[in-house]
């Protein structure tokens, strides 16, 4: 990662993990504070000839230096955010999906294109979040990570909820938890174990234990409504279980809030690496002290990317049922396996990379922390959102899905309880995920909207 020296301007070295080779004059910009136009940029502008040649945006604009500064900042910002990550090659697929949707009715294509189009957006969203976190200090930064960490899943879920596709919401959130716990963790353990072949990697047991406890609490919250409903022992059939779900969701949100408070308090005492590491996860670089874009830029990009993701999610959600019919794949498989791979792609890469650098605590924070976040925040939040929207979203994920979650949580809890990791554990987790994926490939959901007429219960 070399730096390009500009004559008078102080330089901040900027490291990109996934860097486009075509970008010649590496961006050398320093933004001192939150203002969009910094004094440094003003001095840079006079030396910016080379940059103008490189950028693809026309330079024919007004001669006012202010506007020039603005555009430079915008251009550079766009360059940093959009063009600096290889994964953003996939970006055009988003608009392409919209085009295909308008022109033809092929749901299968629309689905895949929007799916692939969201991946880079999710990654950039994570990037923008932790850029913002650099400015806001560790506490709010941790909170930001905690809330926005799974914003893609949340956005997709809210759109599905609005369309009344409650089953899709439940299954996609469930799939997200399963993918984080089995696939991401398994890959991380496996690759870390392969790279560090001679030794067993260790991680902090205490956090893992608390996370396992919280996940079991989430399982409890999901299990009781499901069993209550399936044993037909509700007081008011159908309604009691919904009321119980809503009450349990509030409790789970309280638990999550206390969990955040507890974690942040703990960080103040001993735990600096984890937060700093999680902040770096998406970025993959080591300079927490020098964010690459200003605070306002982060906020703006955050909003833009969120809007983009929402836009694409709408197409995605609308295309699910059609894609399932045309590709002959069960909706359950699409919701549980395919959708979460998208939202988790970036976390996946980050976790694997950190495991290979022997920073397993960070990988665990990413994987299990993310599952805890979805289980204790994402799911209850959707129930409450459904409550507000008037949708009967409940915690009854049906017996098969709940059983899957239960077993998965148990397997993972037992695997991480001793605080060590090796490639065999990773391989076992990945193979478990394959089993889960296979089961959902042949699983038809009797109560789903998109499915065929209900079969006799199993």
């Amino acid at each position: 990662m070399d730096n390009h020296n500009d004559d008078t301007t102080p330089i901040v070295p900027i490291h990109y993990n996934l860097e486009m080779g075509s970008l010649d004059g590496r961006a050398v910009i320093e933004f001192e504070d939150e203002s969009l136009v910094s004094p440094a940029a003003a001095s840079i502008s006079t030396n910016k000839n080379s940059f103008h040649e490189i950028t693809h945006i026309s330079a024919a604009t007004s001669a006012k230096s202010y506007k020039q500064h603005m555009r430079n900042s915008v251009i550079d910002s766009i360059k940093i955010v959009i063009f600096s990550a290889k994964i953003n090659i996939l970006m055009p697929l988003g608009p392409l999906a919209i085009l295909v949707d308008k022109m033809s009715g092929s749901h299968g294509w629309v689905f895949f294109l929007s799916l692939l189009g969201i991946i880079p957006l999710a990654e950039r969203l994570g990037y923008a979040t932790e850029q913002l976190a650099c400015f806001t200090g560790p506490i709010v930064g941790g909170l930001l990570n905690a809330t926005f960490g799974n914003i893609t899943e949340l956005i997709i879920s809210i759109y599905a909820l609005k369309s009344g596709m409650i089953r899709v919401v439940q299954q996609s959130l469930l799939g997200s938890i399963l993918s984080n716990m089995l696939l991401v963790l398994g890959c991380a353990f496996f690759s870390g174990g392969i790279v560090f072949y001679e030794k067993e990697q260790v991680f902090d047991k205490a956090t893992a234990s608390v996370d396992s406890g919280l996940l079991l609490m989430a399982v409890m919250g999901l299990l009781f409504p499901a069993v209550l409903h399936s044993t037909h022992t509700e007081l008011h059939f159908g309604k009691s279980e919904l009321a119980l779900s809503r009450f349990s969701s509030c409790i789970m949100l309280v638990a999550y809030a206390s969990y955040l408070a507890y974690q942040l308090k703990r960080q103040k005492n001993q735990y600096i690496p984890v937060d700093g590491g999680e902040t770096q996860t998406e970025e993959g670089s080591d300079d927490e002290e020098a964010p690459e874009i200003s605070m306002w830029e982060s906020i703006i990009w955050l909003s833009i990317l969120t809007a983009w993701v929402s836009f694409l999610s709408e197409y995605l959600v609308n295309a699910i049922e059609g894609a399932s019919a045309s590709l002959k794949i069960p909706v359950a498989f699409i919701s549980v396996i395919l959708l979460p791979i998208v939202g988790n792609a970036a976390e996946h890469a980050g976790a694997v990379m950190f495991a290979m650098k022997d920073k397993l605590d960070i990988s665990l924070g990413v994987a299990i922390g993310s599952s805890t976040q979805i289980a204790m925040f994402g799911i209850p939040f959707c129930v409450v959102a459904g409550w507000v929207m008037g949708r009967p979203m409940d915690l009854n994920f049906q017996l098969f899905e709940t059983a899957t979650l239960f077993i998965t949580v148990l397997v993972v809890a037992f695997m991480v309880q001793d605080g060590t990791s090796n490639y065999l554990k990773g391989l076992m987790l990945v193979l478990c995920y394959l089993i889960v994926a296979a089961s959902f490939f042949v699983h038809i959901d009797p109560s789903s909207i998109a499915d065929k007429p209900p079969k006799p219960s199993h």
């Binding site: 608390v210 406890g213 919280l214 409890m220 919250g221 007081l235 309280v254 638990a255 809890a413």
Partner: protein, 427 residues
């Protein structure tokens, strides 16, 4: 301490061994009375005095006994009016001080019998209240209530008591507390054995794979109960044997739990007094339990609360109130091992002793009490045991773990609030 006089004629006179000037005086009186051939009047006076002193020690020395009048009040209300709900709550409150005094009497008696029998006494009578309530419910044929109240007792010990203790301890001491992982591990294992004993009949019944529908499952329950009782006996033996190694502090301090005082060497009432008080209090508890059990269903209808909620959540509050208080106290004094002994030990006791004992008792009485607690209740138990076992295996505690337990208990309570526990639930 014990009087060495061989010529005493009545057992009650042995209580004169307690120190005190008045007692010395009475001793002399008694001796003189005895040696002079026993003047009836003086022995009656001493008898009355002894009884008075005993009552003062046992009944009036504890603040909790302010609640004692609730018991007779419940009986009055039951006879005079028709208010079943009131009778229920009054008897519920009235049992609480009796349960506490029962514990007191038990460990007073334990002083005299040595550590082994003392430990056994604690092990058997530790949950005497639940045992008595179950026996009365069995007699009335209310099998579901027996199952639900015992289940609720386990859940409340595991989640509520332990959660409050961890939470308060963590908040007060502001640090991570440690406890003995081995004990917790053994107890978790035993709880899982009990869970297995409950789970298999339930699942057998629900999958309709019994050889003789309905009857096989009952036979299996009875067999499993015997096995569980054997397990419990071995567990007791193991505990008492290894007292010298691991469990000394646990047991000795365990004896002090109800008393809250540190004089192990000086019991407050004599051995025969303890026995008599034990019997008296047990009788009182039995009487109140009868009223309690009779009014449960009426209360459920009158207050429009599901029967399962009353049995699982409200009933155990009484029997466990004392455990609750002592567990929290010890957690705040950083004696987490005792807390664990109180809460998890108590759940193990109920799971491996009281439940199988009720099944066997039902067998003798001819009641069809079995281990099939229905699918929902069994699921609740399985998940709770897993949550607790997983969280405890690390050997540390902080306020957040306590909070998790408490919130889990809230979820459990809420589920039972909307649960229809009649045995007609189908899968």
């Amino acid at each position: 301490m014990e009087g060495g006089e061989e010529d005493q004629q009545s057992p009650i006179q042995r209580s004169f061994s307690s120190p005190g000037n008045q007692d010395e005086l009475l001793k002399i009186t008694a001796e003189s009375g005895a040696s002079s051939g026993g003047s009836r009047a003086s022995s009656i006076v001493t008898l009355i005095y002894v009884v008075y002193k005993s009552i003062r020690t046992v009944v009036f020395s504890n603040k909790l006994n302010l609640l004692l009048p609730f018991g007779p009040a419940a009986i009055l209300v039951q006879e005079l009016t028709d208010q079943t709900a009131w009778v229920f709550f009054l008897s519920l409150v009235g049992v609480a001080p009796l349960a506490e005094r029962l514990g007191f009497a038990t460990e007073q008696l334990a002083f005299y019998t040595g550590p082994t029998v003392g430990g056994l006494l604690n092990a058997t009578f530790g949950n005497a209240t639940e045992l008595i309530i179950s026996i009365f419910a069995l007699k009335s044929g209310l099998i579901r209530i027996v199952q639900l109240s015992l289940l609720g007792s386990i859940l409340s010990d595991l989640l509520l008591v332990l959660g409050c203790a961890f939470f308060c301890g963590g908040l007060v001491l502001r640090k991570e507390q440690l406890f003995n992982k081995a004990t917790a591990g053994v107890n978790s294992g035993l709880l899982l054995v009990a869970v297995m004993g409950l789970l298999l009949p339930t699942v057998l019944h629900y999958t309709h794979t019994e050889v003789y529908f309905g009857k096989s499952e009952l036979a299996l329950s009875r067999f499993s109960s015997c096995t569980m009782l054997v397990t419990y006996a071995v567990y007791l033996y193991f505990q008492l044997k290894s007292q010298s190694n691991l469990y000394v502090s646990l047991n000795e301090e365990g004896i002090q739990i109800e008393e809250g005082v540190d004089d192990e060497e000086a019991p407050q009432i004599s051995k025969w007094e303890s026995v008599i008080w034990l019997l008296v209090i047990t009788t009182c508890v039995s009487i109140l339990s009868e009223y309690l059990v009779d009014t449960i269903e009426g209360t459920s209808i009158a207050l429009n609360i599901p029967l399962s909620f009353i049995s699982v959540i409200l009933l155990p509050l009484v029997g466990n109130a004392v455990d609750h208080a002592s567990a929290i106290t010890f957690a705040m004094k950083d004696k987490l091992d005792i807390t664990l002994g109180v809460s998890i030990g108590s759940s193990t006791q109920i799971a491996l002793f009281v439940i199988p004992f009720s099944v066997v008792l039902g067998w003798i009485m001819g009641q069809a009490m079995d281990l099939n607690f229905q699918l929902f209740e069994t699921t609740t138990l399985v998940v709770s045991v897993l949550v607790v076992a997983l969280m405890l295996q690390e050997g540390t505690s902080h306020y957040f773990k306590g909070l998790i337990f408490l919130l889990c208990y809230l979820i459990v309570a809420a589920s039972f609030f909307v649960h229809d526990s009649s045995a007609g639930g189908q899968f």
